[in-house]
Symmetry: C2
Subunit: 306 residues, 2 copies
């Protein structure tokens, strides 16, 4: 399928998406821009996945890459307490990769089936490095911001943290073991908190760069502090999986990103969430271990350097 | 300014944009997503500029690259008969390029001052190739589509075509001459049709891939034909400039892209536009030369191959 023209490839990608969920648009793929009727507050985000930076081709299928790229961008919409409405996908492709583009589109369609935000347009360009940029629009009656946590609020996570990072380390080390498969699957195909009820949350963020790093935002960079419970962060599966790779599970839970779970502060219990700690006065964050010992933790997690 | 962290760089870019035009947003740079109140029909587009594909660093300043990337994306919004509202900019940067990112942001801010659509968020990632992805939202009471031209409609252009292509060829050939400077400037900093009145238009598209290529879309890939007037496509400056580089001016006008002028069909005269031809029955497009001779033209223009 190599050496086909841009317009032919656009037609093929449009066919992939035509078989997916319907998007609420007046005009979709094929014009200068998509046309939508949006009501209320609109939230809008963009995210990128770059070959050799965010993934290696050997670690997942092209469909997985498309799924991840769409889910990672859509995660920001859930973190704003919004419903995903639609997405645009921009692909930069090395030559000879028309088939890859179709597989990426199928993966994005899969994610849209589960998470919402069907692809309604995009852009195609040649380039040396496979780069997938996804922009997503969502609608919210009451957007949830990163700012708003208060002292005494509980800290709640919609799912386990560090699992995707463990899966990624398994892939990078080429270590295979049946017990590591769920972690690898978690990294390849993030599962967004589609049914999470976050009405009560005072602030929220998705865990993409690592819990410690993302928590910093909820703590408004030092205005507030937090204490986390190690027992709530690391389960038995995680301990066993980390041991197989010689890794420290708490390190993974605090520093590993790309889980795309929701981290919220809330003055009330949050059904379906794990309570992992609470917001305290002062700055810095602390972890209380099984025996009750409290230790101050350095910030860590993923940050690009430029 | 090399080796600074992502969050520090985000703060610097936010400062660049804070000095620019105000965007109509509730939440801008710094949360998981931007928050906007949108009314009526929303148009939404994404465009990418990749180093060594769309430009070479030696051909223009980093500010120019930022300006072009923003203008090229915003052009699609004008082509939909919409007002640009806001933009998100996603930068993939090789390491050591924090200063470059700030210059890109200044360039985008300049374009936003002229064309609208201030930057209200974005994304930063490392990567091997400088890649700038811009997504723009616009608002329209009555979006103009590519489909809608009728036999007998005039074809109108909001500005000269082929000028940016001539400028690009001058840069690529390293040929310098004062008379080529306006063409180079046209390529480096596209000027969008901010005051164009396109109420009467029946269909429209921006000329990004080349007149012949983009016209195909207005002609709905063969449902309609067109006849263009060579005299309306090539002016004296263009003839002189093309001659300096040994190029055929009509070829540049038909095949050269990146002018970002508006091409419209309309049953009525369009003030401020040049009438360059008309929509005819049948398929294919023809050019009438100075002497009245009509010649059938092949489609040409830019199309990525995959």
């Amino acid at each position: 399928v190599s050496d086909i023209g841009e317009f032919e490839l656009i037609a093929r990608l449009a066919a992939v998406h035509a078989a997916g969920p319907r998007a609420p648009v007046d005009v979709g793929i094929g014009d200068d821009a998509a046309v939508l009727d949006l009501k209320g507050k609109t939230v809008w985000t963009v995210d990128v996945q770059v070959d050799h930076v965010h993934f290696e081709r050997g670690w997942l299928s092209a469909e997985d890459i498309g799924f991840r790229a769409h889910a990672a961008a859509t995660s920001d919409v859930y973190a704003m307490r919004a419903h995903p409405v639609a997405a645009l996908a921009s692909y930069v492709l090395p030559t000879g990769n028309a088939g890859l583009a179709e597989a990426l589109a199928r993966g994005a369609r899969e994610s849209a089936r589960v998470h919402g935000a069907p692809i309604v347009g995009g852009n195609l360009s040649r380039g040396a490095e496979l780069t997938i940029t996804t922009t997503v629009l969502g609608s919210s009656a009451r957007p949830l911001l990163r700012v708003g946590a208060r002292v005494g609020d509980g800290l709640y996570a919609s799912g386990p943290v560090g699992h995707a990072a463990l899966g990624l380390r398994a892939l990078a080390s080429s270590r295979t073991d049946a017990s590591l498969e769920p972690f690898v699957a978690r990294w390849r195909r993030p599962s967004l908190p589609i049914d999470a009820d976050i009405d009560a949350a005072s602030a929220g963020i998705d865990v993409s760069d690592g819990l410690a790093r993302d928590l910093e935002h909820l703590l408004e960079r030092g205005r507030l502090g937090a204490i986390l419970d190690a027992d709530a962060l690391v389960d038995e599966d995680m301990k066993r999986g980390a041991a197989l790779l010689g890794l420290e599970p708490l390190e993974l839970a605090l520093g590993g990103g790309e889980d795309y779970v929701l981290l919220c502060s809330s003055p009330e219990p949050m059904a379906g969430f794990a309570r992992i700690g609470e917001v305290i006065e002062g700055e810095g964050f602390f972890v209380r271990d099984h025996g009750g010992t409290v230790q101050r933790m350095p910030t860590r997690g993923h940050e690009h350097r430029f």
